[in-house]
């Protein structure tokens, strides 16, 4: 897209042209995409489809901007893309060795589980998966009533 605002004697003229028309108008847009001149549709490959993290809404493009992931689930969501990134920054090491965290106290786990269930409930409602939503609601109710927690 070519966008230009021209001001002469206090008069604003705005020009918006797509790449093709900008070329026709003789405006230099820098590097030229041959597919535009040749009118070839570039097929959208699978990898170009936008993958979004279901937990935080992060996309891989956003990750590339900041080099920071959005949440722990992003590691799973973008595992394919991150495989190379991690191998690159971690000297080709890809497997954790050493200690794993101990299980935290029930109170905090309870807090985190409620949070996760609420997120899943919201997702299920958005997707109109009402049966799933009902199960999640019952689970939440059980926790609020002081029932046991079965973490998967």
């Amino acid at each position: 897209m070519y966008h230009d605002v021209h001001i002469e004697n206090g008069v604003h003229t705005t020009l918006n042209l797509c790449q093709e028309h900008a070329l026709e108008a003789g405006i230099n847009l820098g590097q030229i995409e041959l597919s535009i001149i040749l009118n070839v549709d570039t097929p959208v490959s699978e990898t170009q489809q936008v993958i979004t993290c279901q937990d935080c809404g992060m996309t891989i493009a956003q990750y590339k901007e900041t080099s920071l992931l959005g949440c722990p689930t992003c590691y799973e969501t973008f595992s394919e893309q991150l495989k190379h990134v991690i191998a690159n920054v971690q000297d080709n090491r890809t497997q954790h060795v050493g200690r794993a965290p101990a299980t935290a106290s029930t109170d905090v786990n309870r807090h985190l589980i409620v949070r996760r269930l609420l997120r899943e409930l919201e997702h299920a409602v958005t997707q109109e998966q009402y049966e799933e939503a009902a199960v999640l609601r019952d689970e939440l109710r059980k926790i609020h009533e002081g029932g046991s927690i079965h973490e998967n």
């Binding site: 920071l68 959005g70 722990p72 971690q90 090491r93 954790h96 060795v97 050493g98 935290a104």
Partner: protein, 348 residues
């Protein structure tokens, strides 16, 4: 919160191990809470929730992990900046606007930053070569936090962090080195090569992106995955440090044998400058202190202790000057008070 820079200098104690070459050792662990977005994607309520969960670590009576909780929003700007200059708080955390906190140990060498790039950054700094000790410090805090917090963890990738460069152990070990000898004999490349061979990063005094000042260098592990915390600590402590310390000491001996006059001249010029100047920039003061430090280590100056110089490296930074002499100082006044402080400390 009370900070006493005289009593609590991260670079100082009585004769720190290998203190002639190594100013300090530091360990840092990055951790995140399961079920929360990472800090840069968190909402204000998320950040508040994380701080309130982590706050629990300050409760209880375990003396190994005694920490004082400080909400950074409630801490005045100057004290926050003093903490940054003492490496207790990162600039990123100090300058952020979201809810965040630090939990600090009474000796001001251990701290837990809350809602930095990761939800939790545990760190410990000690003078000289004390990498195993700082590892134990952070491990004790890590275990304490684990009792109340569920960490984001993956069997394959280990502790999950906002940036993949920290994933795995989340552990970063670093040492602050004083390498004037190797700089003068133009042999710093050797250190650079050793770092490359061991996947270590070498940086300036302030860490990432900072310039080298006073011949002070920070060296840390680049890789955090595929090694245990102990192994990462050992690469720096047992594979890298003994060699570099040896190289620097040998370089100093060579200098002493071949360039005595030049070295004495450099030392006394720097001392003369610092004992007489009335306006001192941070850069000039740091470089001169570095030269004097070398002179002390080589026996050229005998009536000034190395700990005085180590302490000044921190105390001459702008916020420390403001903290001591007055909060509303202009740049030139800071330079004046800096020179006054140094003259006072280096008085014969």
């Amino acid at each position: 919160m009370k900070i006493d820079p005289v009593a609590n200098c991260p670079f100082n104690n009585e004769n720190p191990p290998c203190g002639d070459v190594v100013l300090s050792s530091r360990a840092r662990l990055a951790r995140n809470l399961e079920g929360f977005p990472f800090v840069h994607r968190s909402t204000t309520p998320d950040c508040k929730e994380v701080t309130s969960l982590v706050h629990q670590i300050c409760e209880g009576d375990d003396t190994r992990v005694t920490l004082e909780w400080v909400d950074l929003d409630e801490l005045d700007t100057l004290t926050t900046e003093v903490c940054v200059e003492r490496h207790l708080v990162s600039s990123a955390l100090a300058n952020a606007t979201h809810p965040r906190a630090i939990a600090i140990g009474p000796e001001l060498s251990r701290s837990v930053m809350v809602n930095e790039e990761d939800h939790i950054r545990i760190q410990s700094i000690r003078p000289g070569v004390q990498l195993e000790e700082v590892l134990q410090d952070v491990q004790a805090l890590d275990l304490r936090i684990e009792e109340v917090i569920a960490y984001a963890f993956d069997e394959q990738l280990g502790f999950l962090t906002a940036c993949p460069t920290n994933v795995g152990t989340g552990a970063r070990f670093s040492v602050m080195l004083h390498l004037p000898g190797l700089r003068i004999i133009k042999d710093l490349q050797r250190v650079q090569n050793a770092c490359e061979g061991m996947s270590l990063a070498i940086r300036g005094y302030q860490g990432e992106g900072s310039k080298v000042t006073a011949d002070l260098f920070q060296v840390s592990n680049q890789v955090t995955l595929g090694y245990t915390q102990e192994q990462l600590c050992s690469i720096l402590a047992n594979d890298f440090l003994p060699r570099v310390i040896e190289w620097e000491r040998r370089a100093r001996i060579t200098l002493h044998q071949t360039q005595t006059s030049k070295l004495e001249d450099q030392t006394f010029r720097s001392l003369g400058l610092l004992q007489n100047a009335r306006l001192l920039s941070l850069k000039e003061a740091m470089q001169s202190l570095g030269n004097i430090r070398l002179g002390i280590c080589m026996g050229i100056i005998e009536d000034i202790g190395i700990e005085t110089i180590n302490q000044l490296f921190i105390e001459i930074h702008p916020s420390h000057i403001k903290w001591k002499y007055g909060t509303d100082l202009e740049d030139e006044q800071i330079s004046t008070f800096r020179s006054e402080l140094i003259r006072e400390k280096l008085r014969k």
